[in-house]
Structure formats: C-alpha cells, structure tokens
Amino acid sequence: MITYIIKRLIQAVFILLLLTFIVYGVMRFVPGDPLLMYLGATDIQALSPEALDQARQELGLDQGILVQYFKWLGNVFQGDWGKSFHFKADVLLLISQRMPVTIYLGVLAFFFSSTIGISLGIIAAVRRGKWADTVATLAANTAITIPIFWLGIIMILIFGVSLGWLPIAGFTSPFDDFWLSTKKLIMPVICLMIGSMGSNARLTRTSMLEVIRQDYIRTAWSKGLKERVIILKHALKNSLIPVITVMGLQVRFIFGGAVLIEQVFAIPGMGRLLVDATFGKDYMVVQGCVLVIGIIVVLTNLIVDISYGWLDPRVRYD
C-alpha cells in the first residue's frame, strides 16, 4: 500500500512537470517579445533598450526554452513563484490568498454534487420506469445541459433581484460571519455542483441498474432481505465503483466551473485570478495557478484510487 502511494506520487510529480511544461511552452508562443511573460507591455515601453537587454539576460531569455523552464522550476522550489506585474504582488502570496476561497466553494460543491447526485441515481434505478425515475432522470439530464454561468444569472435575477432573498455577489469568510457567508454561497455552490450532480445521478442510475441484475443480488433476495438492505448494503457499494472514477475527474469540472461562477458572482477566488491573469497576459500568475490546480487535481485522483480499495476488496495495490 505504501509503496503504491509512493509510486503514484512519483508519477504525479512527473505528470505535473509535463503539465507545467506544456503550459509554459504554449505561453512561449505568445506573439511578440518573450519579455512579455515577465513584464507588462506598458512596463516594456517605459524601459530603455539597454535595460530591456539586461532584463532579458537576467531572465535567461536568450537561452533555450528548457533552460528557462527549469530555471522557473528551480525558483518555484525555493518559494519564488515570480512577480505579477498586473497585481503588483508576489504570485505565491496572491495564490495563497485566493486559493482557500475556491477550495471552500469547490469542497462544498463536490460534497453536495456527490450526495445529492448519488441519491437521485439510486432513487431512479430502484423505481425504474416509475414517475420518480422519470423526474429524477429528467432532472439529471437537464442538469448536465445548463450553462452554469447562465443559471447563475437567472438565479441572481430570481432570488437576488426579484425576491431579494439572497445577496447577489461577493464573498465573506465563514470565520468572519458564518451566516452571511453561507447566504452568499448558496447560489454559487448550486451553480457549481449542478453539472457534476447530474452526471453522478446518471452514472449511478446506469451502474445501479447493471448491479441489480447480478447474480449476487438475486442471492440477496433469496435470503429474504428487505429491498432497502439489498440496495444500500449489497448493491450500492458495487455500483459506486464506476461513479468514484468519474468523481475524480469532476474535480476538474468544478475548477473549470469556478472560473465562470466566480466571474458571475464576483467572488475573489482562483478562477477569477486565472481569468484576470490570462487576459492581462500576466503569465507568471497563470503558470502558478496551473501548478496549484494541477497539484490539487492529481492529488484528488490519488485519493480516489486509494478509496477503490475500501469499496472493492478485489483491488490490490501493486
């Protein structure tokens, strides 16, 4: 087990190196002066040609792309993630301010999308063909088709503007004012979780329908167990195995969604930081965000793979 985790961690490091390198490479394609990766266009205009040349040499821009990449990487390990010319701040500092907000949002969205989605899927599978199935399936199918930024806008219009029940934008830390924080988070979290919830429900339904046809479920019936026990004890664990796989991938979707939702609800998180940085051509920030998001996604996938063992005793780690 421990050797497995170590093996996976080494793999994860490798994947992260590749990912950051790919993004680094993509950003080098920016038309124009490669200094743009480090300085804003206005800064460049302000400097004299000699100063620019000096900056280029300091940054190693006259060397190959690999050299530069590893230079960046070396700095990252020393805690120097570069400077943001747009925000006039240290990248690591910026990210550490924004990250907790997005993680809080994301964890909530992940929790609700799994619990509600899986429950909907179970209900639909157990009541297959009945009205409950029709409603749950339709809800799930609709949930995966809603453009979440649009849903956010509609919810603002209904619950924020017309009914005035919920604040329409912003973020408050739950440690400052838990109640206000929660009220502000209701709409963003619903938007963020809705897609994953739908796909969890769909997948749980199909997987559950597959499992309840298995021989061991017939055995469970033949023992005289109640339907509830059969579903929750005998079928659920088996049918969650494929769902867990997809849940690992959904961390990506939640991060992707956070970009849109933080924009709609004006939440100061990683998503907005990344969008602002991308538009401001603030590439050191982009590179930093890519690394952090990559780490989180890769780590969640590792957790998912380990949780297989808990669900399925047949899985062996070697």
Partner: protein
C-alpha cells in the same frame, strides 16, 4: 400432505424476440426429508420454475402468470413478491443455492457479513452468536481454518470453496427445503461428488428436504428418491429414481439415459446422443415439443396437442406412444 406442492405453474418472459413460455404448466411436489431431482436440458425452464416458487423472477421481463405454490398450507404466490411474508419464507423456510459460485456471492462483502446477516434476520442472533454460528457452519461444510477465513472475501476462495460457503449460507437458518439449482455444474468432477455427498449429509442431519435441479441424470441417480424430467417448460415424465432408470417411458427420458454412461451395462454399449437441438421456446407449436427430435413419433403426435401427463404403472408420462413396444 406434501410439504411443498406446485400446481400448474406458468412463468412467461417477454423478450425482444417474442413471448417465451419458460415454464408452462408445471406441477410437482416434495415431502418432508425427501430428495427429489428435476432434470432437463439447459433452457427447459427448470431453474425458472424454482425461482418462481420463491417469486424471484425479475419483472419485467418475466411474470408468473398462473399457478399455485402451496407450502405448509399457504399459497406463496398469493403473497406480494417482496412483502414480509414472502421474505420470511425466503432463506428462513426455503433456501436456494445457485449455479454460479463465482458470481453468486457479493464480491464486496466478507463471508461473515453475508452469512451473519441471514442469522440476524431470521434467527435474531447478536453479532457474537452470529460469529460463533457462522464459524460452526463453515466447519460443517468443510472449510479449513474457518476461524480465520470467515473474514475473507469471496474472491479469496476457489470455486468449490465458494459453493461450500453458499451451502453454509443456505443451511444457516435451518430451512425446511433446500433448492440446489445446478449446484455442481460450474465445478470440476471430483469437487462435484464431494459437494453432493456433503449436501446429502447435511440435509439428513438438518431434516431438510432437497430439490436438486440439474441437466445431468448421473448427478441425481445416487441421491434423489424421485425424479421429474422437464422438456420445453413442461414435465414430460416423473417417477421414482429406480423406475426412471430401469423403465423410462418418455422418448426424451430414453434419449437422455442413452447418453449417460452406466456401470451396469454391458461393455461396448455405445452412448447415443439425442438428435437435433432443444426447441426454441418462442412461438412454439401446440403439438408435442419433442416431436421434431422423436424417433418414436406417430401420426397422432402431429395432429393432436401436447398430451397431458398420464399415469402408467406408477409413473407419469406425457406421450401418445407406448414406447415399451
């Protein structure tokens, strides 16, 4: 009064290819402490008839459309399929062992969890008792090192061992009837004999009646007192084990016996397979389903409907032809 009487049971399935009359008017009975065999080719409805008695048919596509299953004076088919009366019968009064030991045990629950939950349900045992009793059961079915293996998962057992676990599970609540649905088809021949001997032993010990469902006449020959032969969803012949083996009357039974090797026959006797294929159960003609494969057929077989069972010298046969001539 028999312990279990099945009357005119009919179970049909709707498939993409049409209506399948898997069980079409089957009647049989079993007495206390009796061992009977139900024999037929795969697809003849023998398993479905057993699942029907416990209402374990998935609906849709299947449905029990007619019949009675009288157990201790009550018709089980009158109970709602998954209601509390039906559930107390399943596992508690009538237990069933399935064909595929590899897939019939839940892969994500330990053996103890799977046996224990039955003891808790039907015998209301607490966890400690469950454990003691489960270990006892595993020892009885011959699983070595039962104390340790009880917490293992099914995939850690071999096929034969899993079937032993199934037997332990089925007998755990001391049922009145044990249905063994092709219990030994998926295991090798040596294990087969051991498992059958084990089952015979245990049902004697527990005073349980045993229904052995199989496609192999050889399997039931040693154990069953009476035999029912099924073909295409119906019983075509029934009688005591001796009668069936010594004086088979239905052409199908005769054919079956000719393809089983026997020790009491002269050396050099050839095994003869039954010609043709088992019938397609969709849109069957109303005449005898064995007709296309029957070497004894007469004109009457082609003109009249499938004959009902009729008594001939203590046996029941559904055939127009007197095959003794």
């Amino acid at each position: 009064m028999a312990l279990l009487t099945v009357e005119n049971l009919k179970t049909y399935f709707h498939t993409d290819f049409g209506l399948v009359k898997a069980v079409d008017g089957v009647s049989y009975e079993i007495n206390e402490k009796e061992i009977i065999g139900i024999v037929g080719e795969s697809g003849c409805g023998k398993s479905v008839s057993q699942l029907s008695t416990l209402q374990l048919i998935t609906s849709p596509p299947g449905q029990i459309v007619d019949g009675k299953v009288i157990f201790e004076g009550r018709d089980l088919l009158q109970f709602s399929a998954n209601g509390s009366e039906m559930r107390s019968i399943r596992g508690g009064q009538i237990a069933i062992i399935f064909q595929e030991p590899m897939t019939s045990l839940n892969p994500t629950l330990s053996v103890f969890q799977q046996i224990g939950e039955m003891l808790e349900l039907h015998l209301k045992m607490d966890k400690e008792m469950q454990r003691k009793h489960s270990i006892e059961l595993l020892k009885q079915v011959g699983i070595p090192d039962a104390e340790r293996r009880i917490d293992d998962y099914p995939h850690q057992f071999s096929g034969g061992m899993r079937q032993r676990v199934m037997i332990a599970m089925a007998l755990s609540c001391n049922p009145k009837i044990l249905i063994a649905d092709e219990p030994t088809t998926a295991v090798d021949v040596t294990t087969q004999a051991q498992l059958l001997a084990l089952m015979q032993n245990l049902v004697n010990q527990y005073n349980t009646s045993l229904i052995i469902v199989t496609h192999n006449l050889g399997v039931v020959a040693r154990y069953a007192e009476r035999i029912y032969v099924m073909y295409a969803g119906r019983i075509v012949e029934s009688g005591t084990c001796d009668d069936i083996f010594n004086q088979p009357k239905h052409p199908y039974t005769i054919g079956l016996l000719k393809c089983v090797p026997r020790l009491d026959e002269a050396e050099g006797t050839k095994l003869v397979p039954i010609e043709g294929l088992p019938p397609n159960l969709i849109n069957m003609p109303s005449t005898c389903a064995f007709l296309p494969r029957c070497p004894y057929s007469i004109d009457k077989c082609r003109e009249e409907v499938w004959p009902p069972l009729k008594r001939v010298n203590g046996q029941y046969v559904s055939c127009y032809v007197d095959t003794r001539r």
